[in-house]
Assembly symmetry: C2
Homo-oligomer: 614 residues x 2
C-alpha cells in the first residue's frame, strides 16, 4: 500500500532571497578559508617572521578560469597588500604571506573570472581537438583584447583580466607575537629563598649559562598578616612564618608595592635590567586576589564581594575555604573603576620593564575581562607575553587562549603514560592555531606521584619530554635537585612547601648538566621550537615513548625502575635517506640509523635526543 | 649564548576591545552550537516530524550554576518558543525540539546564571563538608528569596532564577521538507516509449504495486528539429528520428509547452492526477537549455550568449560541441527578466500540480540563481522537491545542496568496489546535515562497466545496495530487464540509446519481483528510511559488503561471477541480544544469528536483507 503522504499544505513559506538591484549576484564561491578560529571570531596566533599559509575552496559554475589572491594588512596599515593564491586542483587554492611585525594582522580572500585565460583555454582545447574553423573564437578574442591581434598573439597575451571580482566580507585575524610567546625555557623561583632580588641577581649568570629565557617569580608584593597561613598550609601562622606570596597586600602596600623582605623597587628594576643584559626576562605573577590587609579592602570596599550584612566574603570553593584571600566582584557597581585599576596594576609593571606575566587562575575571572585587559596592555606594549595558569576544563582553557593569552599551562603534569601523552598531544595539535602550550614539569602546587615514586630517573624522563615535546617548558626550583617528598601520601603538595616558608636555595642540583644540554639543543635546533611537527613512532614497547620532529628523533624510557629495550620504527614518510647518521644531542655520541627498525635500549629514565646529520 | 632577541619595538598596537557603557560584558560563553552549516550561512535539513537535537558548549568563570535553553521559531511565527538544554558535564549541553511543519525554522541558544541554584549548591556542599556556622549563607539566601525563609525552605525552592542572560546573536536555520525529500523509490521512464501520457497512465497501477513513490520523466516539451541528433547520437537525424528530449523547443513551443507526440496538456494533467491517486508523484526534468528552434531564441535573443558578430553560440565543453543546444547568459543585461522567466517556467508546472523537479546540470548555472529560484518557488509551494543532477566536484555538489536542493545524485554509479563504497558513504555521512543522496543505479547517460560485464547478478547486487544504503534511490527503464549493451566497448552510453529513439517498453523485467520486495521492505522498515545510521560490518571478504542499520543487517555479494562465503561480524555495540532471530525480507526465511561471527554464503550478486526479530 502506498506510503502515507503528509500533506504539504501545512508547509509554511520559506524566506525569500533578495536580489541586488543592478548587477546579478556574484557567481564565484569562496569557502573554507583557513586558517581561522570559530568562524573568524578570534584570530589565529603566529610569531614574528612566520609564513601564514592561506587555503580556500574557490569555484564557480561552468569551466571559466579563475584567479584569486589573499589580501592582507599589517597592523596599523591603511592599504591592503595582495599575494597570489594558486590553484591546486579540486577547487583548492593556496598562497601565503609573511608576518614581519607584531600585532594584529587582517586578511581575506578575493577571486575573479579571467575571461582572457578562459578564452585562451577554450581555444587551445579546440586546437588540440583538431578544430580549424575558429572564426567565431577569433572575433571573441579580438573583442576582449583588440581587433588587430592575430590568433597567435591573442593566445600569447598575459592579460591579467579580473572580471566579476568577489571579496569575502569576512575579515580574519592573525595575532603576531614575538618568538618568546612560542619558544622559551622557564625557571620558576621564590626570590625570598635566594636572598631577595639581590640574590636572584647574583644567580643570573648561572641561569643564563643554563640556557633559561625566562625567570618567573611568584608574587613579589607585601604579604598579609591577618589569617596568614603557616608552614605546610597550617591555618594559623607562627611568629616568623612568611606566609604565602599569593596572599597579597598589607599595610605596606598592594599589587604595585614590593615586599620589603625582597628589596626595594630600585632593587627590582636593577634585577630586571641585569636579567635583560644576560638575555633573560623576569616574569611576574599577576594574581587578582587580596589578603584581608590589602589596601583595597579599606580603600575600595565597593569592589569586593560582600554578604547582605556588609561583611566581606573570603574566597571559597566549597567545602574549601581560603580565609587568607578575598576576591573582587567583577560586576560591582563601579566595575569600570575596578577594571581600570586592575589594568593599571599591569601597566605599572610594564612601565617598569616587565613584559612577561604568568596569570594565576584566570578561569575564575570573566573571559571578557581578560580579552579587554590583554588588548589594553598590548596597545601600550604589544610585546607583552601572558601565560595562563588555568587547570580547568578544555572549553575555558581554549577560550582564554583564544581571547589573547600567549601561552597556557596544560595537563602535562598528569600525563605520564604513553597513551596519556598521545592523547594530550593530539588535543594540543587540534588547538595549535590559537593555543600555545607551556610544559611545566612541576609547580609549587603540583608534585606528581610519578616524580614522588620515581626519583631521579623519573625527573630525567619528564625533563626530556617537557623540553622536546613543547617549545615552551618550565621547571620550578628544586626540580633540578629531584626534590620529591609530598606533604602526605597521596598528596601532590610538597612537604614543607616553599609557598609557606623560606627554603634557602643554591643552583646546585644534579640535573643541571642535563638541563644545560637540553636548553642548548633546543636553541640550536629549529625542530624543537615548534609543537605542530610531531609524529609518533612505533617502539613496540609501552615504556618507550618515541617521536620524530623534522630532523630530531627522541626516544624516552618512561620506566623509572627498569631498563627497557625496543625499537624506533621510522616510516618512509619521514623523508630521511634509507641510511643516515644521527648525533645524540645529550651524550654527543653518533649512531648509524635507518628507515625501518632501529634497536633502542635505555636505562631507567634515560633518553635519546638524536639529530639527523645533514 | 643567549638566543637573539627580536626587538619588540617593531610591534604595532592591537585593536582595542570596546566595553559596553553600563553593564559589564556578559560572562557566559556559548560556543560550538550544533547543528549548523558553514557558520550558520546555510540551514541544516530535516523532514517533517523530525527531532532536532541541539548541542552547545556553555560555561562561565567560577562555579556558578547555569541554565540554558534553545529558542526556536517555526516558519512564519512571530513568537519564539523555548526548550530546555540539559547539562551533560564538561560544559556540554543538549536539548531538542520537534519540527512539525515544513519551511524555514530558526533557532538559537540562550543561557543565564541561576543565582539561587548556585547558592543552594554552595550551601549543600558546606553542609556535606560538616560546616555548621551558616549565618552568612543564610542571610545571602534570604536576600535572594525572602527574609522570612528558613534554611531548609531556601534549599527547597525551585526559583528558576535567570541572571545575566546571554542570547547568541547568531540565528541558525533548519529547512524542513516533506518526507519525500528524504525517502522514496524513483522510476525514470521516457513517456514516448510507453505510448505517451496515456500509456504511462495505464502503467501506473503496476508502478504503484511495485512500490515506487516517484515516476520521473525526461523533458516533455517539443523537441527541436534544426541540428536534431539521430540515433546513437548521430550528428544528423534521419527522417523519423525523434531527437533528444533535452533539445528543448520548437515552433510548437518551449518549456511550458508539451510535445504533441506525448499528448496534450489535459492528458498530462490527467496523468498527474491519476498518479497522485495511486500514491505516485510525477517528477519533471527542468533543463535550462534551448534547441535552435526554441521560441526564446527569436523572442528573447538578448538572453543568450552571442559572438561579437551577433550570432548565437551553441553550447560547448571544448572540444565537445552540442550543436543542438544553446545556453542562456545569466549575466545578460536583462538578467532580471531572464531569471523571472525561468522561475515562471517552474511555477507554471507547479501551478499544474507538479511538485518534484529533477534539475539537469545545475552546476553549469550560477549558484546564486538556484538559491533564489528555489526560495521563490518554495514561497508559493513549500513542498516542492528539487533533485540536483550535478556530476562534478564536491565543492559545487555540496554548495548546491546547501542553497536548497532537497536531494542530489551522487558518485554511486562509479563506486562498485567495497573500498569505494566505504569512501562514498563516509563522504555522504560527512555531508548528511545538508545533503540528501539519491542512489540512481543507472541513468540514460550512465551504464557502468560493472553492469555491462556482470549481467543479472550485477544488476541484483547494485539494486540491493542502492535501495538499502540510501533512503532515496532510483532506476531508469530497462534496469529491470538487465539491459546492458553499451554503444561501444569502453563507453558508458547505451547502444541505441533511448535518448535518441523510441524503445517500446512494457513493465516486464525479470528483476521486478526483487524490486517489489525491496520497496515493500523499505516502506515497512524505518531503518531503511535514513542514511546516517550506517555501520559497516567486517566480513573477512572483499567481495562481501556487510552493514547494519539499526535493526537491519545487509550482506551483499558484489562478485557477479562467483559465489562467496565469509562472515558478518556483529560487534557488541550494535545492541542486539547475544542470540536473536532474523528474517530475510527478500526470501522470507528465518535464521538464528548472534553477536560475533555469523557465517554467510551467497550466490553471485545475491544478498541478505535481514531484519532482527523484536
Amino acid at each position: 500500500m502506498p506510503l502515507e503522504r503528509l500533506s504539504f499544505m501545512t508547509c509554511e513559506s520559506l524566506t525569500a532571497v533578495p536580489l541586488p538591484r543592478n548587477e546579478p549576484p556574484p557567481r564565484i564561491q569562496i569557502q573554507r578559508v583557513e586558517p581561522q578560529v570559530d568562524c573568524g571570531r578570534f584570530p589565529v596566533k603566529r610569531t614574528i617572521g612566520a609564513e601564514v599559509v592561506v587555503t580556500a575552496s574557490i569555484f564557480r559554475d561552468g569551466h571559466d578560469v579563475l584567479g584569486a589572491v589573499v589580501r592582507y594588512r599589517p597592523p596599523g596599515a591603511r592599504r591592503w597588500r595582495e599575494a597570489p593564491l594558486e590553484p591546486l586542483g579540486n577547487d583548492d587554492w593556496r598562497g601565503s604571506f609573511v608576518v614581519d611585525a607584531c600585532g594584529r594582522w587582517t586578511f581575506t580572500v578575493a577571486a575573479w573570472t579571467d575571461r582572457v585565460a578562459s578564452w585562451q583555454d577554450e581555444v587551445r582545447r579546440k586546437l588540440d581537438g583538431g578544430q580549424t574553423d575558429l572564426e567565431g573564437e577569433l572575433s571573441e578574442g579580438q573583442a576582449l583584447l583588440g581587433a588587430e591581434l592575430s590568433l597567435e598573439k591573442l593566445l600569447a597575451v598575459d592579460a591579467q583580466d579580473r572580471h566579476g571580482e568577489v571579496e569575502l566580507e569576512l575579515r580574519l585575524g592573525v595575532d603576531v607575537e614575538r618568538v618568546l610567546a612560542r619558544f622559551g625555557a622557564w625557571y620558576e623561583l621564590f626570590p625570598r629563598s635566594f636572598g631577595g632580588f639581590a640574590g636572584v641577581e647574583q644567580a643570573l649568570p648561572k641561569l643564563a649559562e643554563l640556557g633559561f629565557e625566562v625567570v618567573y617569580l611568584p608574587p613579589i608584593h607585601p604579604i598579609g598578616e591577618t589569617n596568614r597561613k603557616g608552614r605546610n598550609n597550617a591555618l594559623v601562622a607562627k611568629a616568623g612564618d612568611p606566609g604565602s606570596p599569593w596572599a597579597i597586600g598589607s599595610a605596606l602596600g598592594g599589587h604595585t608595592a614590593i615586599d620589603p623582605e625582597l628589596g626595594t623597587l630600585e632593587d627590582f628594576l636593577r634585577l630586571v635590567a641585569s636579567a635583560r643584559e644576560a638575555g633573560i626576562e623576569i616574569a611576574l605573577d599577576f594574581a587578582i586576589q587580596y589578603s584581608p590587609d590589602h589596601p583595597w579592602l579599606t580603600g575600595h570596599p565597593e569592589w569586593f564581594h560582600r554578604r547582605p550584612d556588609g561583611t566581606l566574603k573570603y574566597a571559597e570553593n566549597p567545602p574549601k575555604k581560603y580565609q587568607d584571600i578575598y576576591n573582587v566582584n567583577f560586576e560591582s557597581e563601579d566595575w569600570r573603576g575596578l577594571w581600570d585599576a586592575l589594568r593599571d596594576v599591569v601597566l605599572f609593571w610594564v612601565e617598569h620593564g616587565v613584559t612577561v606575566f604568568r596569570v594565576d587562575n584566570p578561569h575564575t575571572k570573566p573571559v571578557a575581562f581578560w580579552e579587554w585587559l590583554i588588548a589594553e596592555v598590548r596597545r601600550v606594549e604589544p610585546g607583552v607575553v601572558f601565560l595562563s595558569e588555568a587547570f580547568t576544563r578544555p572549553a575555558m582553557m581554549t577560550t582564554l587562549a583564544k581571547v589573547g593569552f600567549s601561552q597556557s599551562y596544560t595537563y602535562f603534569t598528569w600525563k605520564n603514560r604513553k597513551a596519556e601523552l598521545e592523547e594530550l598531544m593530539a588535543q594540543i595539535l587540534e588547538w595549535s592555531q590559537f593555543y600555545r602550550p607551556n610544559f611545566f614539569a612541576n609547580t609549587p602546587d603540583i608534585l606528581h606521584e610519578y616524580l614522588q615514586r620515581g626519583g631521579r630517573p623519573a625527573f630525567e624522563a619528564r625533563l626530556v619530554l617537557a623540553a622536546t615535546l613543547s617549545p615552551s617548558y618550565g621547571i620550578y626550583s628544586g626540580f633540578e635537585n629531584c626534590e620529591n617528598v609530598p606533604v602526605r601520601e597521596g598528596s601532590e603538595e610538597y612537604l614543607d612547601s616553599e609557598k609557606y616558608e623560606v627554603k634557602p636555595r643554591k643552583l646546585d642540583g644534579e640535573l643541571l648538566p642535563l638541563i644545560r644540554k637540553l636548553n642548548e639543543a633546543r636553541r640550536a635546533t629549529p625542530a624543537l621550537q615548534r609543537v605542530d611537527n610531531l609524529r609518533w613512532l612505533d617502539t613496540e614497547n609501552a615504556q618507550l615513548v618515541g617521536y620524530v620532529k623534522d630532523d630530531v628523533i627522541c626516544v624516552v624510557n618512561i620506566d623509572y625502575a627498569a631498563p627497557q629495550e625496543g625499537l624506533a620504527v621510522l616510516p618512509v614518510q619521514v623523508g630521511f635517506p634509507p641510511a643516515f647518521n644521527v648525533r645524540d644531542l645529550l651524550s654527543g655520541e653518533t649512531y648509524a640509523w635507518r628507515i625501518g627498525r632501529n634497536y633502542v635500549k635505555l636505562a631507567p629514565g634515560k633518553a635519546h635526543v638524536l639529530r639527523v646529520a645533514s
